[in-house]
Amino acid sequence: MSTGGDGFEETYRKYYARVWRYYRSCRISDDESHDLAQDTFKRLLEHWSSIRGADPWPFLKQIAKSVLLNYLRATRTQKRAATTITLDDPELVIDPPAPPEPTYEDREDEQRRRELLHRAFRELPKGQQACLRLRLNDLSYEEIQKTLGITLDAVKSRLRDAKRQLRERLGEKP
């Protein structure tokens, strides 16, 4: 693959920081953000001849999103397998010692709270559940609006109603 004399290096130097910052803003670690940025430019280079002369940024932006989504699909949407360890493994040392076991009453109480919360959540209208789940996963109002295809006011009112209903069902004061 060629990287010289055809404007690619200029594009790389102009947009690298922007692409890297995009990944960082999505809470990807610094090292992984650099890796993803390099992957993004590698993919841009593969299609470089077809976009020559045009503004590369719209295409680069699309590639950056695609690389991020692929990365997230591969790493964060899979069921996590439990780490296994053999009995002879020197890592099999419990240090520091495990915290004291919760009492039976503690466990019962925790179980009860979580069942209550789960049920209360499930009893919310679907639209409120979706809004609240996205919000609890740190999406902004605008991002929720975009994902659900509703107005910003609808996002705010659904969240407000969902919190109110949960408080009522959980017996909390506002």
Partner: protein, 242 residues
């Protein structure tokens, strides 16, 4: 009172339940098409439901790409660019490729010409009638009588075995034979010094290359005595055109 770890546990359970219900996350292509508004209403709703079940993807898709150009720390960009170049597969220099192919083509052409020439020569050689050896008894000029024509050799022999009789020219310590080409003073072939044999004849083998050109050659017999030599006889042979 609900604690933070309660929320985390319940959200994890809700996610697991919903993912179990809706299945795999949307593909990257589906998400990008959703983002661009290129899906049908039914597909849009399906992807939207999947996005709620996979909120990390929804967050990434909805997250805006920055449009500003705040620079990286000094030297960082150079380092990243070098690193980027190192990860690319090495490409061949076009100029060098051209030179390589030109050189290869020239070499191939030279070999083709050389082998073609050899083949042509071999075919031509094979097409020509071959005589393994032409054995002839020569007679001295002036003693053959009649029209006194030179003895004709075949032009197709690889070598000539010529028997040169010594008739009436005794008394020399040694002898010597030369072959002279038509019109040439210098010998094209020489035998070196020969001692007289009991049968009063010398048998010499002359390769064809010394008699290659058509014409009449003269085999000259010299007598060697006391450091000098004397021309004793000539034997004319003719090589016709092949």
């Amino acid at each position: 009172m609900i604690r933070k770890d309660d929320w985390e546990a319940v959200l994890a359970r809700l996610s697991a339940e919903e993912r179990e219900e809706v299945g795999l996350p949307p593909t990257t292509e589906e998400m990008l098409a959703f983002d661009e508004g290129n899906l049908s209403p039914e597909e849009t709703e399906r992807v939207r439901r999947l996005m709620v079940a996979y909120p990390e993807l929804a967050g990434a898709l909805a997250h805006p790409v920055p449009e500003d150009d705040a620079p990286l720390p000094a030297g960082e960009l150079d380092r990243r660019w070098m690193e980027f170049q190192r990860t690319l597969p090495r490409r061949r220099e076009p100029g060098r490729v051209l030179v390589f192919w030109k050189a290869s083509a020239a070499l191939a052409a030279a070999l083709a010409i050389a082998f073609g020439g050899l083949l042509w020569e071999a075919r031509r050689d094979l097409a020509r009638p071959h005589v393994i050896g032409d054995e002839r008894l020569l007679e001295p000029d002036g003693q053959r009588g009649g029209a006194e024509t030179a003895l004709t050799l075949t032009p197709y022999s690889d070598w000539y075995l010529l028997t040169v009789p010594i008739i009436g020219v005794g008394g020399y310590e040694d002898y010597r034979l030369d072959v002279h080409a038509p019109g040439q003073q210098n010998a094209v072939w020489g035998s070196g010094v020969l001692s007289r044999r009991s049968n009063d004849a010398f048998s010499i083998v002359v390769p064809r290359r010394f008699l290659a050109a058509p014409g009449t050659y003269q085999v000259v017999l010299y007598g060697v005595r006391g450091g000098g030599e004397e021309r004793l006889a000539t034997y004319s042979v003719r090589v016709p055109r092949a």
